[in-house]
Amino acid sequence: MKAESYPCPLPGGAAASEYALTFDAGRKHRVLIAPALFDEAHKLRRLAVEVMRRLDGSGIDSMLPDLPGCNESEQDLALIEPEDWRMALDAAARHFGATRVLAIRGGGLVLPEKLGGWHYAPVKGASLLRTMLRARILSAREAGREESVDDLMEQGLQLGLELAGFSLSGEMLRQMNTLVPGKKAGITALEHELVGGAPLWLRAEPDEDAEQADALAAVVAVGVGA
């Protein structure tokens, strides 16, 4: 496992160096991992890395890039839109010479243009937002403040909104609310039932699950024919 970086294009034409976790031995099959988004990124990161370890054992290289504004990135998330994440994944795919993509949950909403592969546990952008909006309303209520989904969205679309500790711009909210997992040529949807066990994004704390990592890695290893 190595810590590498890739040149990531930024809004306005600038570029930044973003971090990527890689298992890279210059092998033929190279899988780009499109990470889950927002709160789910934390809960599914260990699963992603466990899948990468197994792929490495099967002779497959893999790379898990940071999206701008996420994880170790120094970019301001409040200036980022979903399209910037798609461009970042495109850039990472080119830089690392990825041959396939494995997208996790919301990561499949910003798939790079040309790669075929898999989308694990697809989810609508609106569902991700709704869960974070609800969490904010519940926290506010415990603190004695009443908020509503409609009011928060209306305010957020104009001024941006902080949800689950993430500063989201109006444009991020607007686009994310309309993004749905598409029927993209070459991308196979992997519903969670296929993997089995309790979905890790529903848990309050990040965890890992060896059987789920085995199942996902097996689908990818069989798929690339390694």
Binding site: T131, R134, A135, R136, L138, A198, W201, L202, D207
Partner: protein, 86 residues
């Protein structure tokens, strides 16, 4: 155990990371929110979204209050009434 009951136990198992069969021990009086420290606001929000998806219901934020999560029985009654109305 009806379908709603079975599905609701399965959803709680997933959210709480229970072992298979562990949720079978829930009774109507089993305490949920407050007694289960795992349920922070994000976990409760995820639980509600999952209930909507798997039970085919729509939950309005106005319907969510502390009493709903007080016991397993109160959450089950809520889920049943929502499914009947759906």
């Amino acid at each position: 155990m009806d379908t709603t009951d079975r599905k609701l136990r399965a959803i709680l198992s997933d959210v709480l990371g229970l072992k298979p069969g562990q949720a079978d021990a829930f009774t109507a009086d089993t305490g949920l929110f407050g007694e289960l420290p795992e349920l922070d606001s994000m976990a409760v929000a995820g639980l509600l979204t999952e209930m909507e998806d798997r039970l085919g219901i729509v939950i309005d934020e106005d319907e969510i209050d502390g009493e709903l999560f007080e016991t397993y029985g109160s959450l089950l009654n809520f889920a049943r009434s929502k499914r009947e109305a759906a």
